[in-house]
Symmetry: C2
Subunit: 102 residues, 2 copies
Amino acid sequence: MNTFADLIRIAREEKGFFLRQVAASMDIDQAIISKFERGERKPTKDQVERFAEFYNLDKNQLVTSWLSDKLASYVLDEENGEEALKVAEEKVKYLKTIQHGK
Amino acid sequence: MNTFADLIRIAREEKGFFLRQVAASMDIDQAIISKFERGERKPTKDQVERFAEFYNLDKNQLVTSWLSDKLASYVLDEENGEEALKVAEEKVKYLKTIQHGK
DNA sequence: AAACATTTGACTATTTTTGTCAAAACAAAC
DNA sequence: GTTTGTTTTGACAAAAATAGTCAAATGTTT
């Protein structure tokens, strides 16, 4: 259950990069990357995919981590958050059957 | 597994109101309510709560329906949507334990 | 304290979401 | 088939949320 923030920070430290270097390579302001690594800001999906490529991380895993972070923070202060997440799963399953069988 | 749209449309029809009447009572443009009832637009949380009051519906149930709609449509076209919803549940549970024990 | 890395915060830009309005579409009655 | 009444559509404006930029502040090592 890793956060996106932890995953990219650990990946960077393992490779021994400085923020400045990653920022230059990926063409993203280093202040923003710093915020990504502390979960203060959420990247776009495109950026997530580029991080996966840059650090050679599994793309699906990283996207799932990022997306679940967003969902969790989105519903965290909602009284019905957990219940809504469960119901949403059912709705997604249902909606997908419709899409397929259209 | 009802959508917010269905719930408020059915509630209105049961009470025999016209959009115009609901719009006037709730001070929301009737075009928007029409879109709410077809799921074309999502109301704010405040509006959801006002709908619950206006139609005498269970507030928690209506909010959950609305929130799960939003989550479902949010992840519907994401490859990792369903998995992310599950992971998000775990993250929410975890984050709440932290909040409590702070 | 010098040199270098990271974090913070104020500000702007961009994107997404919401609101307004008038006209178009639909339906029933006559 | 036109009048009356309801709902839907779509173009546009307003507001809110999210993302990006930059310089200064903070932290760390030597």
